[in-house]
């Protein structure tokens, strides 16, 4: 199938991109890696008037350090993520989740920022960004603003990005010494979307859990934190019993959908099981 006609702009700087978005008319779509947008356009579920292709905006691609933070350019591809030395050292949770995204070819084109801006609740990276309390840097005609992950994901396929704005970079804390991470994903076949997945990062101090961050994929219209489990884990001695008890609360406050892959109650069951596995692995059990 062939998409409906559109005007095409290929800026090479962020400035030019914002201008192209401003000049693009009523219905402008930003094309990052295109691995979700192009299929949607082929099905004519989207027929934008103008497409602004960011592929040649070099300043949007790459990973750098900024003190205790990593700054990931929105157009950094999934394949870039998997080979980046800074992410290998401080961003293993992102790396693990990215490894499970689609397949080799899609990871060559698909981007970190594109996946987050698309905000599919079954996508793997939104829950990771939420668990890490990532900060989203948005550029617009009036300058830049920073939105925390908890406010970025607004609803199903809907983010805090306003018309005319562009996601430029994502800032995540470096997870170094003491942190363990695990992304546990359950899907029916490889390259399929998550039925449910859990992103866990746990900081241990001796035999105890000092801090736990848990993000849930596909347990509602947006990614969610397993807040009750996080709270229950702080200060406990690390053991399979304590982790299992805390993970039993993982589905609290979630509202997963019923669809062809799974019913809501099954998803809530999965959330508990996967949280137990993810936290146990992250805590080194």
């Amino acid at each position: 199938m062939i998409p409906a006609p559109f005007a095409y702009a290929r800026p090479s700087t962020i400035e030019e991109a914002l201008q192209a978005i401003a000049d693009g008319g009523e219905d402008v779509k930003v094309l990052a890696g295109g691995q979700s947008l192009i299929p949607v356009m082929r099905l004519r579920l989207a027929a934008p008037e103008t497409l602004v292709d960011l592929t040649r905006v070099a300043e949007l691609r790459g990973v750098r350090e900024d003190g205790d933070m990593l700054v990931i350019g929105a157009m950094t591809t999934h394949a870039d993520v998997l080979t980046d030395p800074l992410l290998a050292q401080y961003g293993q949770l992102i790396v693990q989740a990215t490894e499970t995204v689609a397949d080799r070819q899609v990871r060559r084109r698909g981007t970190f920022g594109g996946a987050l801006a698309h905000a599919d609740p079954a996508g793997d990276l939104p829950a990771v960004a939420l668990a890490l309390d990532a900060e989203f840097v948005l550029a617009g005609p009036g300058g830049r603003r920073t939105v925390p992950a908890a406010e970025f994901f607004v609803d199903y396929l809907t983010t805090a990005l306003e018309e005319g704005e562009l996601l430029v970079e994502i800032r995540v804390p470096k997870l170094g010494e003491g942190w363990g991470v695990r992304y546990e994903k359950f899907n029916r076949v490889v390259q399929a979307w998550s039925i449910v997945a859990v992103a866990a990062a746990v900081r241990r101090e001796g035999g105890r859990i000092a801090e736990a961050r848990i993000g849930l994929t596909n347990m509602g219209p947006t990614p969610l934190r397993a807040s009750a489990t996080e709270a229950a884990l702080v200060g406990v001695d690390v053991s399979l019993e304590t982790v299992t008890a805390a993970a039993a609360q993982a589905a609290e406050g979630t509202s997963p959908s019923n669809d062809l892959n799974a019913q809501a109650d099954y998803r809530q069951h999965l959330a508990q099981v996967l949280t137990r596995r993810a936290v146990a692995a992250a805590a080194g059990l």
Binding site: Y8, Q105, V106
Partner: protein
């Protein structure tokens, strides 16, 4: 219409395309590169896999305008030489020898994905081959012989790495190479 300059299987082309034209349709319908097939048309099956600047991509999920200034290699460009004297790429040969296909529809994409995998990992295990081609679906063989083929090709390619006919075809600099479709 937008003008693009691309190099496909070693030949240079300058063409006008609609921005909405998918790379796979440009390759097949304007350049006649029908070796690259459209399978699912939903970015799942990988049958349309080509290399864009050396990296495997699904050409049904890239616009032709995005290939402007780039080098594209299709299944038609991986063998060396022409006609009777052509030498198949080791991965092509291995698919033939190991019966890595039945109907053959997925094969162009399988081979392009496998070449990409072997560039990154010249000696993959069975498991790594299966993961490496997870973006390519075969509905006939059950993958068993495909995995064998990729591993045989890996062994052959590492055995004679010096004169390995790489995925990049020999350069043929014909600015006005043959087209099947007349330009609008």
């Amino acid at each position: 219409m937008t003008q693009i300059n691309v190099r496909v299987d070693g030949a240079s082309y300058t063409d006008d395309v609609e921005p909405r034209t998918l790379l796979v349709h440009y390759l097949r319908e304007q350049l006649g590169k029908v070796g690259t097939v459209v399978g699912c048309d939903t970015s799942n099956c990988g049958a349309c896999t080509v290399h864009l600047d050396g990296q495997a991509v699904k050409s049904c999920t890239v616009f032709a305008v995005q290939a402007d200034g780039c080098q594209v290699t299709t299944i038609e460009g991986v063998a060396t030489g022409e006609g009777e004297s052509a030498t198949l790429h080791p991965v092509q040969r291995a698919f033939h020898e190991m019966h890595g296909l039945q109907c053959g529809f997925c094969t162009p994409g399988m081979i392009m994905a496998s070449i990409d995998l072997l560039k990154e990992n010249p000696d993959p295990s069975d498991e790594e081959v299966r993961e490496g081609i997870e973006g390519n679906l075969c509905r006939c063989t059950g993958y068993q012989n495909i995995v064998r083929a990729v591993r045989q090709a890996a062994a052959e390619m590492s055995g004679k790495a010096a004169d390995d006919p790489q995925a990049e075809p020999a350069a043929v600099d014909t600015a006005a190479a043959d087209h099947v479709a007349a330009q609008a």
